[in-house]
Symmetry: C2
Subunit: 274 residues, 2 copies
């Protein structure tokens, strides 16, 4: 399909085309495409930009990841398709960060395709292609992790994670940092540090802050984070965007192009609601 940059939804159409392409390459599963749509809807409702509250969460996330002994970022098919470059950038900003492939719908070829996408983006070492451990509390196919990665991590960054797994990681006593556009999702609710933001924007901001902070002394402790306030802020942002949208009249009809004003259909009649 041709995409015109003047299309009112050009950016999201481009991201969709990218996901559909990653799907054809075996990186993204059908369920991942549906999840992308859910994210799109929430991003739309959040105004498609990082809120001040999300940026605060991203700053704290950077400090947690810098202060961690074994920080790990978990990468699934959607993260690889949407933000492989951002994962590579984050790993450069936080050299201690391990990058681990972690798939909900795992097959060998898919794990290798995700790892390949990460390596192409510049990640030097990718864990999790051949898992060496399992975490308890999950169906076996979704529990497989790397002994030197997620299993021993103290801080896990889990962008676009499934609720069951976020809860399982938390049950293991790990600090969980989620990136999820739905503030009501089980993942956002389970996380110690829920970031309600789009994954590219979130990872870029964490990396940016980490580079600034690295110049200073290494933080020895992890600053506190008010997760309830962060989730309440996200809900308030959505409510505010909704009333703003209603007020600026998106309910009004889009302008009809002048060239199409004449009715040309054989069943034509006035389109005005009586």
């Amino acid at each position: 399909m041709r995409l015109s940059p003047r299309h009112p939804r050009y950016t999201s159409l481009r991201v969709r085309a990218r996901l559909a392409d990653a799907h054809r390459r075996g990186v993204v599963v059908p369920e991942g495409l549906i999840a992308q749509g859910r994210g799109e809807a929430f991003d739309y409702l959040l105004g498609e930009r990082s809120s001040p509250s999300a940026r605060r969460a991203e700053r704290v996330a950077a400090e947690w990841l810098l202060a961690a002994r074994h920080p790990v970022v978990s990468v699934n098919g959607n993260v690889a398709a949407l933000a492989a470059d951002e994962v590579a950038g984050l790993q450069r900003a936080i050299p201690a960060l391990s990058v681990e492939v972690n798939l909900f719908h795992r097959t060998g070829p898919r794990a290798r395709a995700v790892a390949r996408a990460l390596r192409v983006a510049g990640v030097p070492r990718v864990l999790g292609v051949r898992p060496t451990a399992t975490i308890p509390g999950l169906p076996s196919d979704r529990a497989r992790v790397d002994r030197g990665g997620i299993l021993r991590a103290d801080v896990c960054l889990v962008p676009l994670e499934d609720g069951d797994r976020a809860e399982a990681l938390r049950s293991l006593g790990k600090r969980v940092i989620s990136v999820d556009l739905n503030p009501l999702s089980r993942t956002s609710r389970a996380a110690d540090l829920p970031i309600v933001d789009e994954v590219q924007r979130a990872l870029r901001e964490i990396a940016r802050v980490a580079i600034v902070r690295r110049g200073r002394a290494t933080p020895s402790r992890m600053p506190p984070f008010d997760r309830r306030a962060a989730l309440a802020d996200a809900l308030a942002t959505i409510a505010r965007e909704l009333s703003r949208a209603a007020a600026r009249g998106p309910i009004g009809r889009p302008r009809r192009p002048a060239s199409r004003r004449r009715s040309r259909g054989s069943g034509g009649r006035s389109r005005r609601t009586p």
Copy 2:
């Protein structure tokens, strides 16, 4: 993947599995899966039930379709995958209703797969597999319709329709009834009668009302519909559901199962935010 009926999102997981299956059969395109996710998010925010305002819209839609000279329902891949049975039921309830395949991403095999799904569900005659006309104002591949169907229709029911096409149909002077869970979408804004509801629920309700109304004299005119009020109601419903969700404390963490309370990870430490 195994699906447990006790999973908190069992119903939507089942619908997702159904869409993914329709995708493997060539009925649904990747972009359709992403669109499904957007719909899911809005349905979630609408409380996953038909609002009183949506039911009013569905009643008026039934009257418009019964009063129309040439009513047509346009069926794309997602509609066929989600609601082929409901399309067949609607066609039985409104015998004058034509059923036309209308695809955004059209290929011959896909058009035939969608038509097959409709015939299996009990639709006796399916238009649009070999389009015989084009409508103006759209890129050629998306403009192709049936001369005896959408081209001459006076009332078009377009569930899960794309914004450009909804606007093009309206520019042709047709009355457009949309079914779209996003009250802010271009489709909802372009429609004469926007139904903000899930497609299965919407089509079932329209069919139910049509059967009741058919017993009476055939309506000779189409009752008025306040589309602005309908869209404003949908936004108000979302805002209300959000504050309800915030109030009943979904921000609180999901209960941790007792059996998983002990930390078992080597990197374990308290999961409490400091």
